[in-house]
C-alpha cells in the first residue's frame, strides 16, 4: 500500500477528502473560519464533473444538498456556528427523510456571530440536539489535518450506509493548520453508495429491513416515492396512527444503535493504568495529549480518552478507558458541554471536574497539566 505525504491545511484536506469520497455536489455560503472549504470545492468539483453552488444563505445550502442527495449525488455543505444554526430545520428534515448528507461545522466563538476568527467548542451539544424532536445523527470530531481527511471520508461512508446526516465538527485552529498528511490511495477513500431499491411489486420506500436502513429509490427508474418531514408510514405517506408513528420514530433511532460497532470510534492514550483520565476532543485533545506526556515524565499517571465519534458517544470504550481511574477531567473550549455526557456515563462513581475556556484562546497543555496536579492533591 503506498501513501504519499502531502502538506495540507485543515479545510483544504476536508474538501479534498470529500471529493475523494465521491462528493459531487456542494452548496454553501462561505463563512469564517470555514470559507476555504467552499473555495476548494469550487476549484475541485468542476474538474470531476461535480456541481458547486454558492447559495443565498445556509438554509438554502442544506436544502440544496438534500435535493441533490435525493437526486442520487453525494452532497456536502460547510459552515460555522451562525450558519449551522440556520441549518437546523433542514438537518431535522434530512434525519426524518433519511437523506444522506454531510455538514461540516468549523466552530468559532459564539453565541450569535461571536468571534469569527477564534477557536471554540461551543457547538458540541447543538450538533447533537440543535434540531427539534428525537432524531438520529452522527457527529465526528477530528483533531488534526490527517483526521480531518480520514473523518470526512468516513462521514460520507456512514451517511450513505445509514441514510443519516453526518456532521463533521472541528475548531478554527485545526481548520487553519498546515500539516503533512498521508493521503490514502483514492480507492480506499471512495464511500459506497447508499443501499438502492430494486423495482418490484409492493415496494414501500420506508419499509422495515434487517439493517433498519430502507433502500433508497434511484430517481428516474420507475419507482414512486413520497417524501415528507411529517411522520410517515412505510409507504412514505403521513400517519398519526400511534403504533405506526411509534415504530417509525423508534426505527430511526434504532438504526444508529444497532450499528454502534461500526459507528463508534475513539482513541485511548495511556489509559490502562491511568489514575486520572482526561476526556477531550479537537485542538483541546492535542493539548491534553501533550499534558499527559509531560505528567507521565513527572510520575503522574494520567491518560487521555478522545472520542472521534462524538455522537453517539462511544460509551463502551469510555467505560473501559476510565474503569480504573480515580478521577476524570474534561477540558473544553466552552462553559461545560462534553462534561455533561461524561457525568451521565460516570454516574457518580468517581469525581468529574471541568476546565473551561471561553475567551477565544485554546487551552494550553500547561493549563491542563496544572489542573491535573491540582486535582491529584485531593487524592
Amino acid at each position: 500500500m503506498t501513501t504519499e505525504l502531502q502538506p495540507l491545511h485543515g479545510n483544504q484536506a476536508c474538501a479534498l477528502a470529500a471529493v475523494a469520497a465521491g462528493c459531487r455536489f456542494f452548496a454553501g455560503y462561505p463563512i469564517t473560519p470555514s470559507s476555504e472549504i467552499a473555495e476548494h470545492m469550487s476549484h475541485e468539483l468542476p474538474r470531476v464533473g461535480g456541481v458547486f453552488v454558492q447559495m443565498e444563505d445556509e438554509i438554502g445550502s442544506l436544502a440544496a444538498c438534500i435535493g441533490a442527495s435525493f437526486g442520487g449525488a453525494k452532497a456536502m455543505t460547510a459552515t460555522s456556528g451562525p450558519g449551522f444554526s440556520l441549518m437546523q430545520e433542514n438537518l431535522g428534515y434530512a434525519a426524518m427523510t433519511e437523506t444522506p448528507c454531510v455538514i461540516v461545522n468549523v466552530m468559532r466563538g459564539g453565541p450569535s456571530t461571536g468571534m469569527p476568527t477564534r477557536p471554540a467548542q461551543g457547538d458540541l451539544m447543538q450538533a447533537r440536539w440543535g434540531t427539534h424532536g428525537d432524531h438520529p445523527i452522527i457527529v465526528l470530531t477530528p483533531a488534526s489535518v490527517q483526521e480531518i481527511y480520514t473523518e470526512t471520508t468516513r462521514a460520507f461512508a456512514l451517511s450513505e450506509r445509514f441514510r443519516v446526516p453526518v456532521v463533521v465538527l472541528y475548531d478554527q485552529v485545526v481548520a487553519q493548520l498546515l500539516e503533512s498528511i498521508e493521503v490514502p490511495p483514492a480507492e480506499q477513500s471512495v464511500a459506497a453508495d447508499r443501499p438502492w431499491a430494486a423495482a418490484g411489486n409492493g415496494f414501500q420506500p420506508y419499509a422495515e429491513t434487517e439493517s433498519l436502513v430502507p433502500p433508497m429509490v434511484r430517481p428516474g427508474e420507475g419507482l414512486r416515492v413520497h417524501t415528507t418531514g411529517l411522520t410517515h408510514a412505510p409507504t412514505g405517506f403521513p400517519t398519526q396512527a400511534p403504533p405506526v408513528a411509534d415504530r417509525a420514530l423508534k426505527r430511526l433511532l434504532e438504526k444508529i444503535e444497532k450499528h454502534r460497532d461500526v459507528i463508534d470510534k475513539s482513541d485511548a492514550y495511556r489509559c490502562e493504568d491511568a489514575e486520572i483520565v482526561i476526556v477531550a476532543c479537537g485542538i483541546t485533545a492535542r493539548a491534553a495529549r501533550r499534558a499527559v506526556a509531560t505528567l507521565r515524565e513527572e510520575g503522574v499517571k494520567a491518560g487521555l480518552f478522545r472520542p472521534l465519534t462524538m455522537w453517539p458517544f462511544p460509551e463502551r470504550a469510555f467505560r473501559a478507558a476510565t474503569a480504573n481511574a480515580r478521577r476524570v477531567l474534561v477540558p473544553e473550549l466552552n462553559a461545560g458541554q462534553l462534561i455533561l455526557e461524561v457525568e451521565r456515563l460516570t454516574a457518580g462513581r468517581r469525581p468529574v471536574a471541568g476546565l473551561n475556556r471561553v475567551d477565544g484562546e485554546p487551552l494550553a497543555p500547561r493549563q491542563i497539566s496544572d489542573r491535573v496536579k491540582e486535582l491529584a492533591r485531593h487524592d
Binding site: L178, R286, R290
Partner: protein, 178 residues
C-alpha cells in the same frame, strides 16, 4: 530530534506566513514533520502578525506554541508581542534597524542587518527570506539547498531569483555571525 518551536513575528505584509511556509517545506524535505499556524486576523496592511512552526517527532503532538525556542523578529511590534513566549536560552534573531529594543532575557540574541541585505538582493520585502537564510546557517537545522528548493516551490515565478539571492545573502550573514 526533540520538539522545536519557531516563530516569525512582525507586521502584516512582511511575508511572515510565506516565510514559515517556506521553512515548513524545507524541513519537510529534510524528513521532519511540522505543523504551521499563524495569527488569523485581517493584518495584510500592517498590525501585529506572526507565523509559527512546530517541529515534533510525534505527528499528533500539540501544534501550537508553548514556549519559543527560536524567535525571528522583523520589527519592534513582532519583538514586543512575542517576548513573553520566548524560553530562556532561545535563539532570537532580529533586524538591527527595525528592532531598537530587543526582548530582554537570557537569550542567544543576534542583531542582523536583515533589511539592508534584502535591499541589496532586490527589495526590502525580502527581509523575511534573508532571515530564513541566516537562521538556517546559524542553527544548522536546515540545509541551504533545502531552503532554495522550498523557495522555488513556494514563491511566485517572478520573485524566485530575488528570493534565492536573499536566502543566500542571509546564509552568508548567518555563517559570518555564528
Amino acid at each position: 530530534m526533540s520538539r522545536l518551536e519557531i516563530r516569525l513575528a512582525g507586521s502584516g505584509g512582511q511575508g511572515l506566513i510565506t516565510g514559515a511556509r517556506i521553512l515548513f517545506e524545507a524541513f519537510s524535505m529534510e524528513g521532519r514533520r511540522a505543523a504551521q499556524s499563524q495569527s488569523y486576523e485581517p493584518t495584510s496592511r500592517g498590525g501585529f502578525c506572526y507565523s509559527d512552526l512546530i517541529l515534533a517527532d510525534d505527528a499528533t503532538d500539540y501544534p501550537l506554541v508553548t514556549g519559543l525556542d527560536v524567535l525571528i523578529a522583523l520589527d519592534q511590534t513582532g519583538a514586543d508581542r512575542s517576548a513573553a513566549m520566548v524560553k530562556p536560552g532561545a535563539t532570537v534573531l532580529y533586524d538591527e534597524r527595525l528592532v531598537t529594543a530587543p526582548p530582554a532575557g537570557e537569550f542567544n540574541a543576534h542583531a542582523l542587518p536583515l533589511n539592508a541585505h534584502a535591499v541589496s538582493a532586490g527589495s526590502a520585502r525580502g527581509a523575511n527570506i534573508v532571515a530564513l537564510g541566516a537562521y538556517a546557517a546559524m542553527s544548522g537545522t536546515c540545509r541551504l539547498e533545502s531552503l532554495e528548493e522550498a523557495i522555488r516551490r513556494e514563491t511566485p515565478e517572478r520573485f524566485v531569483a530575488m528570493n534565492l539571492e536573499a536566502a543566500r545573502a542571509g546564509f552568508r550573514l548567518g555563517k559570518e555571525r555564528s
